[in-house]
């Protein structure tokens, strides 16, 4: 394996394609969590990765970024190996993955998004400080800039993470369950920002849990349960048959009916 954690040899891809994953397999111990997944995420799309708990959704995202090692598979970002394209990616990890008791203020966390711009010793310029405040404004958190992060509510923490990703000023946004455990106002604020990003011709990929909002929020879906079950536009791919194949018996027929989808499938 390469130090990056991916056993990847890079496949030539179209430089216009934000993200392509090929043959991605990740295992914990001797149990595959993600097996041989191929996926392509076209430009300016907003894709939800959907599947039951333990289906490998977050793992797929993390393996793509090299945060967890993969057994095999390759990733290309805008036609390049990921190591050369990290500046074009913004990542929002799960809120629960960090210790919020860490000694930092909201603005310190958002400033971490400038890491690639600043490098080791660069100082935050006046212009960059304005950018940071602007990112906080976009998630309605400007009033909290000086607040200690441990004092924030869950929804506010999630918005801070999103603001940090905005500060990265990337073309491709990868989000891991951004709506998990947040209040309705935060959910609204986040989706507005994401739609705004899409309008700015950026590409969004998000692990998503709430099936009832998929059609409202996302124009593409990737259904995952260790294997890729289906991927494509929400209208044709987010179907009762595909959901049933992804969730098995975990999703009762009544739940699917509540989503108001065509039962015939695509």
């Amino acid at each position: 394996m390469t130090p990056d954690g991916s056993a990847a040899k890079v496949v030539e891809e179209d430089p216009g394609l934000p993200l392509a994953v090929r043959g991605m397999t990740v295992a914990y111990g001797e149990k595959p969590v993600v097996f041989s997944v191929d996926a392509r995420f076209p430009a300016q799309s907003m894709t939800a990765i959907i599947g039951p708990n333990g289906a490998g959704k977050s793992t797929l995202l993390k393996a793509t970024l090299g945060v967890v090692p993969s057994l095999s598979g390759s990733v290309s970002v805008y036609g390049q190996p990921i190591a050369k394209a990290r500046h074009r990616i913004a990542y929002v990890p799960q809120r629960a993955s960090v210790d919020w008791d860490f000694p930092a203020r909201v603005v310190d966390v958002v400033a971490m998004g400038l890491y690639r711009e600043l490098g080791l010793l660069g100082m935050v310029s006046r212009k960059q400080r304005a950018t940071l405040m602007h990112c906080l404004e976009r998630v309605n958190m400007a009033d909290f800039a000086g607040r200690q992060i441990g004092q924030l509510s869950g929804g506010q923490q999630q918005r801070v993470f999103l603001a940090r990703a905005l500060a990265q000023n990337a073309d491709l946004y990868l989000l891991d369950e951004p709506f998990a455990g947040v209040d309705a106002a935060t959910e609204r604020a986040i989706i507005d920002v994401l739609k705004g990003l899409k309008a700015e011709r950026r590409t969004i990929v998000s692990v998503h849990h709430d099936l009832s909002t998929v059609t409202d929020y996302f124009d593409r879906v990737l259904l995952l349960n260790i294997r890729k079950i289906a991927e494509g536009p929400t209208a044709t791919t987010f179907t009762a048959a595909n959901l049933q194949a992804t969730y098995g018996g975990r999703l009762a027929a009544t739940q699917i009916n509540d989503l108001g989808l065509a039962h015939a499938g695509a």
Binding site: K9, S72, S74, G248
Partner: protein, 404 residues
């Protein structure tokens, strides 16, 4: 007779025999109690406890001398060390509960500060007239040389008592370390059992001070449980194994040490523990390093073979070097990269399997099934022959051997 053998057979003198038995019992008790700590992921609490004994030793010495007695009385020193060890433990719990310090930082703070203060007291004692020959330094690393008979008796009896308490409390302690919530639901007072467990850790530490020394006594509480972990997944078996490893290390270690003058007891016992650990780490049948490396490699090759075959079936190019080499070595690909007959056949088989799974997921919507479609589980492991036949009927007339 060879001196080591002589010592092992308890014929190297009454004192050494008593010490060896005591060390064996102590090792057994430490191994068992340590397992409970290990299962609770709190192994290093014992490190704070053991270092916190030092000021107690110093204070007890000063107090006993001030009262006109012999400062070196082992029981008195043990009592003193127990008091400060308990104080240290209480502080670790308080700091990690009441302040923002994590437990590891609390442990580090208590062990270094108590130890530092203990050293201050030792230097004070060295300045006292009664302190010149105190030999308290022996408690840092343990020393059995010139041990009094009564001290040997104290160690043997202490080891026996600790082992007996472990036997008495083994059931509640196993339950609490394995699943505290269940234990609470079953009516056990988890907090109290935890306290009893830490009390035993303290007892083992205090009894072992003279023998192993306070810097190394934690080894007896940590290494045998870790060693046992390589041999079993069951907590009750782990307790027994760990006690056995501790007993063997204690007994053999102190015997070896008694056989020659410059073999210090504590280090020899610890190194005996480590020898058992190293062998287990490498060669234990299931969790050992060699076994897991072999297994992991096999698994990796299996994944690559399967992925490679699927790529062949779909007519996709293969770039991954490992996949290519797996396929070539398996005879599925010719050296120039063209699939062999065997390769085509196996690829078709893999492809067929995939299609069967797709159908299976459509007709069997059992909850448990969704997660079994992991690319490696064979059909036959999940479905009966009849069910597979039904799936094949859905797939139509293409035979498994059909070319794709």
């Amino acid at each position: 007779m060879h001196p080591i053998l002589e010592a092992l057979l308890l014929s190297a003198g009454y004192n050494s025999a008593l010490v060896a038995i005591g060390a064996g019992l102590l090792g057994a008790a430490a191994g068992a109690v340590g397992t409970f700590l290990f299962l609770r992921k709190r192994s290093l609490v014992s490190d704070a406890i053991s270092h916190a004994t030092l000021p107690g030793i110093g204070l007890a010495f000063i107090l006993m001398v001030a009262l006109g007695g012999d400062g070196r009385n082992l029981l008195g020193l043990m009592a003193g060390s127990a008091v400060t060890a308990w104080l240290g433990l209480t502080l670790v719990e308080w700091a990690s509960r009441r302040t923002r310090l994590a437990e590891d930082a609390a442990i580090g703070a208590v062990l270094s500060v108590f130890f530092g203060f203990g050293i201050v007291l030792l230097t004070v004692i060295q300045g006292m007239s009664a302190g010149k020959q105190a030999g308290l330094q022996g408690y840092l690393l343990g020393s059995t040389a010139g041990m009094l008979l009564q001290d040997a008796v104290v160690i043997a009896v202490g080891g026996l008592l600790a082992a007996a308490v472990v036997v008495l409390l083994r059931r509640p302690m196993t339950l609490v370390s394995f699943d505290p919530e269940f234990a609470a639901a079953a009516g056990y007072d988890v907090r109290r059992i935890d306290l009893a467990m830490l009390g035993l850790v303290m007892a083992v530490t205090v009894v072992g001070l003279k023998l192993v020394g306070l810097v190394l006594i934690v080894a007896l509480l940590i290494i045998p449980p870790v060693t046992a972990r390589f041999w079993t997944n069951r907590s009750d078996v782990a307790v027994l194994l760990s006690a056995a490893f501790g007993a063997v290390s204690g007994y053999v270690g102190s015997s070896i040490s008694a056989s020659a003058p410059d073999l210090p007891t504590g280090p020899i016992i610890v190194l005996s523990c480590f020898a058992l650990f190293a062998v287990s780490l490498l060669f234990a049948p299931d969790r050992g390093v060699v076994a897991s490396l072999v297994r992991h490699r096999r698994f990796q090759l299996k994944v690559h073979r399967r992925q490679g075959l699927l790529a062949l079936a779909h007519g996709e190019p293969i770039y991954d070097r490992l996949t290519l080499s797996v396929l070539k070595r398996g005879g599925y690909l010719r050296p120039d990269g063209v699939p062999t007959d065997l390769g085509r056949d196996q690829a078709a088989h893999a492809y067929w399997d995939e299609r069967r799974w797709e159908v299976a997921r459509r007709i069997h919507q059992a909850e448990a099934l969704a997660g079994r479609y992991d690319g490696l589980t064979p059909m036959e492991a999940v479905f009966t022959a009849d069910e597979i036949a039904a799936i094949d009927r859905q797939l139509g007339p293409v035979s498994p051997a059909g070319r794709t």
